[in-house]
């Protein structure tokens, strides 16, 4: 149970744009244990999705992974050829996309789109076997069998999202990445989908990476988590520990800005300012301009960023730990 299904070490990735290189992922290190769900949280544009896409190396054409290592179940993924990667995709790591967006090809039937994924990784299956498999998956996520012959636009947002989950599970992946799967849905459906993911995870013992900007969802869904800010992980550890004892001031700010449904009404603290531009050279702690009580060391760049262990399996950025 304690085995790591995924290990990411010192991953660096940047986008080459006409206005310069944008370092979207800086020195990221984390691991996911088998059967565990791991959360990745941060505001929009902090590099969460870039990390997810780097794992399967589906980044945009102008994105370059400059260094680091990604190991899936003992297999190194960096440096694999496109063909080798193809067999890792979906079979090793699959992704739950935002189904309400354009994850489905509008002119191909849902069933056919799932079937072609299975066909790619299990070429010896007969058509009947594949269809049986899809029916099984649909039952698991609570969809009727008739959806197989439907086109994507005939489905509601929630149904599409369920179908996306079925698609992600179709090849029995070792690891599933859920990339903000509920963002475009309304709250009721959102809750249903989250329950669905949870149910499926329990049922199949899936390893899951859950990506969201909503720290409340992360608290509900995950056992361990990491907080990202401006392309870096600033704090990581067991979800409980982080919620009980946040060590980084950005994590604290995130927690303070989230309303609680139970308890008294309290005034929420919103975080002022903007995240730093990722093009500029880093100078000191990247969070210091927005930090509520930055020290001189943070601002002047005397201390470099980097994670240190503050409690068992609980890491936080060292400059912030030092100052507060």
């Amino acid at each position: 149970m304690d085995e790591n299904i995924l290990e990411v070490k010192n991953l660096n990735m940047h986008y080459e744009t006409i206005s310069g290189d944008v370092a979207a992922v800086k020195d990221i290190t984390f691991h996911v244990k088998k059967g565990e769900s791991f959360g990745l949280v941060g505001e929009s544009g902090c590099g969460k999705t870039s990390v997810a896409m780097s794992l399967v190396q589906l980044q945009a054409d102008n994105a370059k992974i400059s260094s680091g290592s990604i190991t899936l179940d003992g297999q190194e993924l960096i440096g694999l050829s496109e063909n080798e990667l193809r067999s890792v995709r979906w079979d090793g790591i699959s992704i739950v996309f935002q189904g309400a967006m354009n994850a489905w090809n509008p002119v191909i039937k849902i069933g056919e789109q799932i079937r072609e994924a299975i066909r790619e990784h299990y070429p010896n299956n007969t058509k009947l076997q594949n269809i049986e498999k899809i029916k099984e998956l649909f039952e698991m996520v609570g969809l009727s069998e008739t959806i197989i012959d439907r086109f994507p636009h005939e489905l509601s947002g929630g149904m599409k999202q369920r179908a996306v989950i079925a698609l992600a599970l179709s090849c029995n992946p070792k690891l599933v990445i859920a990339d903000e799967p509920t963002t475009a849905l309304d709250v009721v459906i959102q809750d249903q989908i989250l329950n669905e993911i949870k149910k499926v995870q329990d049922l199949l013992g899936l390893s899951l990476i859950y990506i969201s900007h909503d720290i409340a969802v992360i608290a509900e869904m995950t056992e361990r988590m990491a907080v990202m800010y401006a392309g870096r992980i600033v704090e990581s550890g067991p979800t409980k520990d982080i919620f009980a004892n946040p060590r980084h001031s950005y994590t604290r700010a995130l927690l303070e800005s989230t309303p609680s449904v139970v308890g008294d009404k309290v005034k929420l603290n919103s975080l002022d300012g903007e995240p730093p531009s990722l093009i500029d050279e880093e100078f000191g702690c990247s969070f210091s301009p927005r930090c509520s009580n930055p020290t001189e060391n943070c601002k002047s760049g005397k201390s470099e960023m980097g994670l240190i262990e503050v409690a068992e399996d609980h890491f936080a950025d060292k400059c912030c730990v030092e100052c507060g």
Partner: protein, 390 residues
């Protein structure tokens, strides 16, 4: 759906009516008429000109003639050609149309197929060296000055190398004692082409749902070989054996025009396919397809190209009229006696019945093509298909 079709048909009829009227007025606005050359002949009696005009009804006022023409048109009477007198425009079209149809259907099939293929590759190999060179070639062939290029091709292959005949669609000496008309052969060849295309298409559709890629490819190849064997037997037996050398003669004359026009016509499709494909490649579902671990070829052909096909097909059908238009020039350069030359002569010599008949033929053709474009768009895109049903 039915309401839409009826509404659309009514509008089409109205447009056609206006088209008919305005073309008739346009032709009559041209100065002079087809019989003015009679005035130049001093041997004819002085009233011959007036008599001829009266014979053809040209002495009546314009409005009356227009009325008569339109009534007769819908009765199915198109009058007689002024310059090929005893023949009616329908006979002339029936004689010329197969020749044009044969040439341009082959050109269009080739041009569309290669264009789509090249465009697909262009979008896929974005940013590579080969992309730049293929693009430059395509842009050159898209914008090259057509008659100039065609004449150079004629010079090079016809005169300099002497491989291919210059102009004409057959060697007259070969046909001197032929037991049948060239049009019979043309019609025969058209049917032959249509049938083998259909067979290939059916084979393609039937094998579409086969799960294993290698079996599908093998089956398609087998069907292709079977078609080849079948056509070998067809041209080797019975009546077709007699026709074979004549058909071969026509085919030989067709090579150069087909090659030249294809070379120029593929580029438009290729460049459009490239743009459309590139837009499609940015869609999220392409990312999904890549994440699923599908092969590059499958993503390109099944996911990207199929979606990109819709706008390309539509615009292709819309340009069919332009292609026939281009036949005027092509037939002039390659001395190919088809519809294009018929229109040109009719217009230049003011043979109004023939000109009107050819114009309205093209008009109906264009209307039907546009209508089909709408329908095929609706068929190929399930999003629209649903909408028109509901």
């Amino acid at each position: 759906m039915a309401k839409y079709l009826i509404n659309r048909a009514l509008q089409m009829f109205l447009v056609f009516f206006i088209f008919l009227t305005s073309s008739y007025l346009l032709f009559n606005a041209m100065p002079g008429n087809a019989f003015q050359s009679l005035l130049l002949n001093p041997n004819l009696p002085p009233d011959a000109y007036e008599k001829t005009l009266a014979l053809y009804g040209l002495d009546k006022p314009l409005f009356e003639r227009l009325q008569l023409y339109i009534i007769n048109f819908f009765k199915g009477d198109f009058g007689y050609s002024y310059i090929y007198f005893p023949k009616s425009p329908v006979e002339l079209i029936a004689e010329r149309l197969p020749r044009t149809l044969m040439l341009f259907s082959i050109v269009n099939i080739f041009a569309f197929y290669t264009g789509f293929l090249v465009g697909k590759i262009l979008a896929w190999r974005r940013g590579s060296k080969s992309e730049t060179w293929i693009t430059i070639t395509s842009v050159f062939s898209y914008t090259v000055f057509y008659p100039w290029f065609a004449l150079l091709m004629l010079y090079f292959f016809g005169l300099k190398l002497g491989w291919l005949p210059i102009g004409k669609f057959l060697y007259p000496e070969k046909w001197y004692d032929a037991p049948f008309d060239s049009d019979v052969i043309f019609v025969n060849m058209i049917w032959f082409t249509v049938i083998i295309t259909l067979v290939q298409f059916i084979a393609y559709v039937l094998t579409r749902n086969i799960e294993s890629i290698s079996i599908r490819r093998n089956l398609r190849f087998t069907s292709f070989v079977l078609i080849l064997i079948g056509s070998y037997f067809y041209w080797g037996t019975g009546e077709a054996l007699v026709r074979r050398p004549y058909a071969a003669d026509i085919a030989y004359h067709m090579i150069l025009p087909v090659f030249t026009v294809t070379l120029l016509a593929f580029a438009g499709t290729a460049l459009l396919t490239r743009t459309t494909m590139m837009e499609v490649l940015k869609e999220d579902y392409i990312l999904t397809a890549r994440a699923k671990g599908l092969s590059q070829k499958r993503i390109r052909d099944r996911h990207a190209a199929r979606t990109a096909l819709l706008p390309v097909v539509t615009s292709f059908i819309f340009t069919i009229v332009t292609i026939i238009d281009g036949s005027v020039l092509t037939e002039q350069i390659f001395s190919w006696p088809g519809m294009g030359q018929l229109i040109l002569q009719a217009v230049l010599r003011e043979d109004i019945p023939v000109a009107m008949a050819t114009f309205s033929f093209l008009g109906i053709f264009a209307l039907v093509a546009h209508f089909l474009a709408d329908i095929s768009y609706a068929y190929l895109d399930p999003r629209i298909r649903i909408k028109s049903q509901g």
